[in-house]
């Protein structure tokens, strides 16, 4: 894309107010990776299909590659780096590691972000069907999904509705 200039965008990323420079046509993913040095959100297809760039935008699972940076002013973004202390993500990480649900790891941050969002918005632990439905848009080319889904179900049983205070986004 040509034309137009670089413009500042004010947004909140992982709890911190930031002003980041966005080129014309830049996406939130470009902004996070190149300007904020938050490389946990990956680039896989840049067309919203693969899910490796999954982040939370205004508290909802989103594709960072499909959010135009210039349209993110005032938004609140949480990336995988922002879930470092999240109790749901911690339990999920334990279960995924134990289940062998992490192979190449390229899809992993997106899956952790998406499932953390699922765990936050449900009062009862999701069953396998709910997890598969939620992860329908997160492609994994390594595991065949079984270990991921089973780990997520176990994590949900431990984490959702348990006496864990889900941190506010």
């Amino acid at each position: 894309m040509t034309g137009g200039g670089v413009a500042p965008v004010d947004l909140t990323v992982n709890g911190e107010p930031l002003t980041l420079l966005a080129g014309p046509g830049a996406t939130l993913l470009d902004l996070l990776r190149s300007r904020a040095q938050l490389t946990g959100s990956k680039q896989g297809c840049n067309s919203g299909v693969c899910g490796v760039c999954t982040v939370l935008v205004d508290g909802k699972t989103a594709r960072a590659c499909l959010m135009l940076a210039a349209d993110c002013a005032g938004r609140t973004v949480v990336t995988i780096e922002g879930l470092d202390d999240d109790p749901h993500a911690a339990v999920l990480g334990e279960e995924m590691a134990k289940a062998g649900a992490v192979q190449c790891g390229y899809c992993t941050p997106g899956i952790v972000v998406a499932l953390t969002d699922l765990f936050r918005r449900t009062a009862v632990p999701p069953d396998a069907a709910a997890v598969r439905h939620w992860l329908g848009g997160n492609i994994c080319r390594c595991t065949g999904y079984v270990s991921i889904v089973e780990a997520a179900v176990r994590a949900g049983q431990r984490s959702v509705g348990a006496d864990i205070e889900a941190r506010a986004p």
């Binding site: 894309m1 014309p24 135009l68």
Partner: protein, 284 residues
Amino acid sequence: MQIFHPTTVDEVIGLLAAHDEARCLAGGQTLVAMLNLGLLDPPALISLRKVAGLDRLIRHADGGVTMGATVTQAALAAADLPGALAVLGEAAQQVAHPAIRNFGTVGGALCHADPAADLPPAFVAADARMTAIGPDGERSLSAGDFFVDYLTTALADGEILTEIRLPPPPPGSVGAYLKFARVDGDYATVSVAVTMTLENGVCRAARIALGSCAARPLRLDAADAALADTGLDADSVARAGALLQEAADPLADMRGTADYRRRIVPGLVARAIGAARAKAEAPA
């Protein structure tokens, strides 16, 4: 490329008039993908994010519904609309994946007018009315008239879709959306949206619209008539399916040849009718 953040519909209309080739940006879930792939390079984008009121879904006392153009697909999927309008929620639930539906809007999907997308046939089957506002004021058109051609709507230059009105679903009405795709979340190879009104097992009226079978959602008066005042017996259902099959003129792409899509129409129509009918028979 400039981006604007108007807060009223009037401002949007003004910006559209002032910037040739400007595009409205709603959820961006298709538009931004196209920008990323270099398929579009508009000089200006007009974000609808801050336009007040466009994201409201209003349920009227008579059962009718009005939804603003920027109601998200996730909101529609969760709305649990009654009777025939269930076709809308079922279609919305099958658009791509949860993250896309969280930001993708109803109006955005309708205005993109992709015949392989899920919402257009559902809104045609639900007999929606579309409200368009432009420099010359407001007008209303039926969903059937709204979709004109592949990626083309009846919106004039400078006009935008602001809201969609759904008539109150008649008592005994049901709706279902059946999508057949290569994998979950893909565009439809063929999809069937159906609404029907049933009275003691007799179909009083039906509207069927197919996705991916023509340059726009495919609906046929004759097919709908073939079902009216029948008990949805196998012959009537097959006749409706055959009429739609004959009228279908699908594109060929990596999802299937035109011949294949035509061949699966009758079977999918029968399944969609069966799914809708099962709802009428299910205890409320």
